[in-house]
C-alpha cells in the first residue's frame, strides 16, 4: 500500500499468481476490456516501440475515492514458468492482495501444487508470509469435461480455507466475482490497518 500525499492517491497492488496457462492473462484481459477508458490505464502486454515482448500483464485501475484520496489498484500477473524466480519476486514486492489462479484439469494438479508452494516460499523469504496478506483462490477452467470439483480443489490447494471462486475465465465466468472479492478483502485490510494506526496515535 502506498499513500502519495502530494498526488492524494492511495495505490494498492494486486497480483494474479499461478502456473503458466492457468488463465491469469485471460482474467486480466477480460477485466481491462470491461472498464471505461477514463477509469483504466493501458494494459501493458507488448511494448511495440522497442519490439520487446513483455511476458507479464499489468494495468492500473482507478476505483473512486476514499477519504479524499484517489483509489488506484495496480493489477499484475506473474510469469508461470519455474525459472522466472526473480521476476516473480519483483512482482510480489509490496503486494497488497493475491489471487491464486489454478487450472482445474487433473493433469495440472502437480503444477498447481508446485506453483502455490513457490508462491508461499517466495513470500516467506521476503518476510511476508501468505497468511498475513489478503488472498483468495480461483478454480479456473471449470468447464473442462474432467475438471476437478471446487470442493476437491479446496482440499488439495486451500488447506487454510481462504475464499475460493470457481471460474471459466475465457467466458468471463467468475472473473468479476474474483476481482470484487479481492478488492473487498484488501479494503478491509486497509481499514483495519488505518484503525490500528489511529488508535496508536490517539
Amino acid at each position: 500500500m502506498r499513500l502519495n500525499a502530494a498526488q492524494r492517491e492511495l495505490s494498492l497492488k494486486i497480483v494474479y499468481y499461478g502456473w503458466g496457462l492457468s488463465g491469469k492473462t485471460t482474467n486480466l484481459s477480460h477485466l481491462h476490456g470491461s472498464y471505461p477508458e477514463e477509469q483504466r490505464g493501458r494494459l501493458l502486454q507488448l511494448d511495440t516501440e522497442t519490439e520487446r515482448t513483455l511476458f507479464f500483464d499489468y494495468f492500473p485501475l482507478h476505483l473512486g475515492q476514499i477519504g479524499g484520496y484517489r483509489l488506484k489498484f495496480d493489477f499484475f500477473t506473474v510469469p508461470g514458468q519455474s525459472f522466472y524466480g526473480s521476476t516473480r519476486r519483483a512482482v510480489l514486492e509490496g503486494v497488497d492482495g493475491i489471487i491464486f489462479v489454478a487450472d482445474s484439469s487433473p493433469l495440472r494438479e502437480e503444477a498447481n501444487v508446485t506453483s502455490r508452494e513457490d508462491m508461499r516460499r517466495t513470500l516467506a523469504d521476503s518476510g511476508r508470509p501468505l497468511d498475513t496478506i489478503p488472498h483468495l483462490h480461483q478454480w479456473n477452467k471449470q468447464d473442462l469435461r474432467d475438471a476437478l470439483a471446487p470442493k476437491l480443489m479446496d482440499r488439495y490447494l486451500n488447506p487454510e480455507g481462504a475464499p475460493s471462486i470457481p471460474a471459466v475465465a475465457r467466458n468471463g465466468v467468475g472473473v468479476w466475482e474474483t476481482q470484487s472479492a479481492i478488492v473487498r478483502l484488501v479494503m478491509e485490510s486497509v481499514r483495519a490497518a488505518t484503525t490500528r494506526s489511529v488508535r496508536r496515535h490517539a
Partner: protein, 241 residues
Amino acid sequence: MPELLTCPAGGLRLSTVLQVAELESTTGVLALGQVGEVHLRDGVPTAARYGAHEGVDALLEFFLDPPGEMRLVATEVAPGPVLGNPVGLVMEGCRLADEWARLAPLVLAVVRPDELSPEQEPELAPFAGLMRRAYTPVGAAGTGGDPAGAAHRSDHATVCERCAAGGGGADASACPGRTARVGRAAGPDTWLSLGRRLARAERYDEAVVAFINAVRLDPDSRVAKQNLARASALASQLGAR
C-alpha cells in the same frame, strides 16, 4: 546534494530500488557501481548509461550484470523523453536476468555438451539437444546435425547466395554451398542476423542455435546473449504447449 539511498553490493535488488523510486516519484540520479547511472524524473527513468550503452539497452544491461554499490542522490534532472513505463522496464530487466541465468552455465561455462554435470542435465535438458547441434563441427556430414545446415535450411533463399542465384535449387541439403556462407565464413553478426530472422519467423529452436553460435564467436556480445535468452524462453514456451 542529499543522498537518498546507499546500498552495498548484494544488498537491495535493482528492481526493488527502481520500484520504490517509482512509488516515491523520486527525481535524481542512481549511480550503479563504477559503470553507469540512471536518471529518474518523478520516478520514471529518462536516461541511462552503462559503459558504451545508452538508453533502454543500458538500463537492461544492469539487470544482466548487477552493479556493485548503488547510490541514489536527489538532484535536478532535465526534462526529456522517458525511457518507458517503469514497471515494464523493471519486469523486462528481471525477465532477461532470469532467462540468462538459466542459460549462462550452459553457454559460457560448459565447453562441450558432453561435459554437462548430472546436476546441470535436468535443468538444461531442453537445450542439450540444441547445444549438441551447435557444437557439431561445421560442415559435418549429414543433414540433421550441423548448425550451418540447419541455418541454411531454415532460411535457404536469403542465406545462401548460390541458391539465391539459382545454383542449388530449393533443396538446401543438395546445395553445394550449404556451409560456405553460414558455416566456415560466418562471423557473430551473421549468426545474430540469421537468428533474428528465424525468431521473427517464430522458428525459435533454430534461432537458439544461431544465437548460441553468435555467443560462442563473441562471448562479450550482450545483444547476442539477450537474443539467445529470449529465443530460448520462447522455444521452451512453445514446447510446453
